[in-house]
Every structure is written in structure tokens, then in C-alpha cells.
């Protein structure tokens, strides 16, 4: 029924389209595609514009809901960012620390006075009773009870808390006691000690619990009691309410300061009960 002209025309068009199809792999048709898209593109842009305008016409209720969702998402992102920073700094801290620190997450505690915390590491992870608990900024407390998979920490806001502190130069050694929530009272100050407000105090390293050089807090007030004795009030550096992770560390015996290590003298002999030593030069 079709005449030769149509058949020839059809064959020619089929030949052209086959050629175009065959050379798809070898030739770059991106400009051709762009050219063929150009007549329709403005209409598609109009459709996109209309869709965008319709999207903007949201009811107030939907808009509020949308805003709330966005805010929630933002908060989640912020919290993730904070957590990321925190974990990074924990990693750095752990790498730079000279002592082995066991990282743990806080899973509970005494909400009202923050005197006790519960961490998710126990004896199975190597946490023992009497280990120092601290974080990046400073001291948190010590473990007082350890179970298989969790431990209880006595914090610096606990009434029983006590630790030896010293200044940056390690010249003045004092004892800090619990005073109030996140505040320690530094006592046993010698008469010639002059510390200023804003000075940071560190752990002295005396005793078997806290390793030396851990920041404890900043002096914010020097108080003179009625009997004329001086004491400092120390604001602890770690805020327990916002704390999520801690480190637990066991103090090694060699960390004891040389100041109190005994220098055993070699005896050269003894006469009865009397022991003779070599004279030091």
C-alpha cells in the first residue's frame, strides 16, 4: 500500500538513526543532546518554578511542623558534631597520656547532687576499685565499687572526697576536701604560700589513687576563717552534669614522686646493733 517514496524515506531515516545509535559509544553527543533539549527546557523550568511556588504556599501549621523538624535535625547534627569533637579529643588525650586510661561511658548516677556516677566498664574491662576517674579537663573522682560490667564512681561532689593537690611549680602541697557541689576546699596551707585567684591546682600524686599532674580545679576565692586560718575555694574543672565519657586509670607505683622515695644506703658493716654506712660526699 505504501509507495516507494515513503519506503525510501523510511529507509533513509532508519539508516540515519542507526548510524547515530551505532556511534553512541565513539562520539560525544552531549552538545547534540543539549541542542535537542533546548526547545523543551524553558517549559520544564516554568513547571519547576510553579512547583517551587506551590511548595512555598504552605499553611502555617505545616510550616511550624516543618520548622520544628528542621530545628530537631539541626540539634541532632550539632549533638553529633559535639560528640565527634569529644571523641576526637578523647582519642588525642589517650594517645598523649603517659598512663593507660580505660575509656568508659556514664550510664547513670545520682542526679540531684552528682555525688556518684555509674560507668559502663567493670572488672571485665580491667576497672578496679580505687582507680582514678578523670576526663580531658580534669579530675572526676575515683571508683569505689566495681562489678563485672559496671562500676560506681565517687565524684568530687561527694562529701567523702579528698585528694592531695599542688601548684604548677610543685612547691606547695595541700589537701583538697569536698566543700559543696563542684567546689573543693583547699586546706593545710603553709604560712608562706601565696596563690592567686585563677591559679590551677593539680594532683600531687601522693597516695595510691590519683596520678600526678591531673588538673583539679581553679582557685576562685581565698577565704580567711574566724580562727585566722586561710583556705582556698577551688572550682572543679569537669562539669559533672554535662559529662558523658570518662577515663579510668590505675596509678603505677613508679609514679610516686621521688620526694618521698626512700634512698637506701649501702651498709659497710655492723658492730653489734650498730650499723655503719658509707659517708656521702
Amino acid at each position: 500500500m505504501t509507495n516507494n517514496r515513503v519506503t525510501n524515506f523510511f529507509i533513509a531515516l532508519i539508516f540515519i538513526s542507526s548510524l547515530i545509535l551505532i556511534f553512541n559509544e565513539n562520539l560525544d553527543y552531549s552538545s547534540a543532546r543539549k541542542f535537542f533539549r533546548s526547545p523543551i527546557r524553558p517549559f520544564l523550568n516554568i513547571v519547576d518554578f510553579i512547583a517551587e511556588v506551590n511548595g512555598r504556599k504552605m499553611s502555617e501549621e505545616n510550616l511550624t511542623l516543618y520548622l520544628a523538624e528542621e530545628m530537631l535535625q539541626n540539634q541532632m547534627l550539632e549533638s553529633l558534631l559535639y560528640e565527634n569533637h569529644l571523641l576526637r579529643s578523647m582519642l588525642e588525650f589517650r594517645e598523649t597520656a603517659s598512663y593507660a586510661a580505660i575509656p568508659a561511658e556514664i550510664i547513670g548516677g545520682n542526679q540531684s547532687d552528682e555525688s556518684k556516677l555509674v560507668i559502663n566498664k567493670g572488672t571485665l574491662s580491667g576497672v578496679k576499685e580505687g582507680m582514678a576517674v578523670f576526663f580531658i579537663k580534669g579530675i572526676v573522682g575515683k571508683t569505689i565499687e566495681c562489678f563485672e560490667d559496671y562500676s560506681i564512681v565517687e565524684t568530687h561532689s561527694n562529701i567523702n572526697f579528698k585528694l592531695g593537690v599542688c601548684d604548677r611549680e610543685r612547691k606547695n602541697f595541700m589537701i583538697a576536701y569536698f566543700y559543696s557541689k563542684s567546689v573543693l576546699k583547699v586546706e593545710s596551707i603553709q604560712y608562706d604560700v601565696r596563690l592567686n585567684e585563677g591559679d590551677t591546682l593539680f594532683t600531687s600524686g601522693f597516695g595510691n589513687i590519683y596520678p600526678p599532674w591531673l588538673p583539679v580545679g581553679i582557685i576562685f576565692e581565698a577565704v580567711k576563717s574566724d580562727d585566722g586560718e586561710m583556705f582556698y575555694l577551688l572550682s572543679c574543672l569537669e562539669n559533672l552534669s554535662s559529662l558523658r565519657f570518662v577515663f579510668a586509670s590505675e596509678k603505677k607505683i613508679e609514679e610516686l614522686p621521688a620526694l618521698f622515695s626512700e634512698n637506701k644506703k649501702d651498709s659497710v658493716g655492723s658492730v653489734g646493733w650498730y650499723r655503719m654506712y658509707r659517708r656521702e660526699r
Binding site: L21, R33, F35
Partner: protein, 167 residues
């Protein structure tokens, strides 16, 4: 002059075909091929010397938008169009049933080829089934609706003309 109108209609159907998300679709899975309806009708009623080049270019435009190999749709449209041009001498093209038959065959051929070339290996069976079977059915239903609408309109126009002539 009337061919400008056909070209404009072809242009509109191209626009409807390449819009994403598709305007005539059910859940973006079952798509109505407006361009195939037009291809069938043009091949049935218009001159092949207009239909063949028009759909050759239309195929290139669709390839540019769908990022299919350039020339694929042209080749397919040309084949379908030529088959309809050959077949139209043997059928009663004014009858609705034959129109439906032609459109359904064209849509089915187009979708089956599309499914076997682009979808069968990558897409799940459900999507392939929708593409190969449900899309032609939807296209036929769409054409039926358009047909009924056109019939009602033409009857209304005829009646209006008769009323105008009576006085």
C-alpha cells in the same frame, strides 16, 4: 497550516513525556505513553512524509532527556510508525476498536522493548511487569478517556451548530 497545529500538539506531548515526575503516571511506575498515542494516530491519519521525520526528531528529543542512547527512540518510533503505515490499508481506521488495537500494540511493543533492553537485568520483576504490561493498559485506558471526551465534545459542537442553523 494544519501541520503547525499537529507539530504543536506533538511538542506538547513531548513536554508531557519528558517531565519528571511524569504528569500522566500512576505512582511513577505505570506511565502513560502520550507520545505513543500520538504516534499511532499520526501514522493512521496523517501523511507519512510528515509523521516519519516528525517522530524521528521527537525520538532524538526523548533520547536527550531520558539519557538513552541517542537514536534509540527514533529507531523505535520509525519502526512502529512504518508498521502502522503499512497496516492502515488493511484496517478500518475510523473504528474505535481498531484504533485501540493499534495503540495497544504500539504501546506494548514500545514498552516490551524498553523493558528488555533497559530494565530486565537491573530492575525487580514488579517494576518490569508494571513497565511492560500495565503501562500499555494504562495508555489504552487513557486513550479511551480522550476518545470519549472528544466524542462528547464533537456531539456538543454538532448540536450547537444545528441549533444555530434551525432559525
Amino acid at each position: 497550516m494544519i501541520y503547525f497545529l499537529w507539530t504543536f500538539i506533538l511538542f506538547i506531548s513531548l513536554f508531557l513525556s519528558v517531565t519528571f515526575p511524569p504528569i500522566f503516571s500512576l505512582g511513577q511506575l505505570v506511565r502513560i505513553d502520550v507520545i505513543i498515542v500520538l504516534l499511532s494516530l499520526y501514522s493512521l491519519y496523517l501523511s507519512p512524509l510528515y509523521t516519519l521525520p516528525a517522530f524521528f526528531v521527537a525520538g532524538l528529543v526523548i533520547d536527550s532527556f531520558f539519557m538513552t542512547p541517542l537514536g534509540y527512540h527514533s529507531l523505535l518510533f520509525l519502526c512502529i510508525s512504518y508498521a502502522i503505515i503499512i497496516a492502515k490499508g488493511y484496517i478500518f481506521k475510523e473504528k474505535y476498536l481498531f484504533q485501540i488495537l493499534v495503540i495497544s500494540m504500539a504501546a506494548f511493543l514500545y514498552r516490551i522493548t524498553d523493558t528488555f533492553i533497559f530494565m530486565a537485568r537491573f530492575e525487580p520483576f514488579q517494576k518490569s511487569f508494571c513497565n511492560a504490561v500495565l503501562s500499555p493498559v494504562a495508555t489504552v485506558i487513557f486513550y479511551s478517556l480522550i476518545y470519549v471526551l472528544v466524542m462528547i465534545l464533537s456531539k456538543a459542537v454538532k448540536r450547537y451548530g444545528q441549533r444555530k442553523q434551525t432559525p
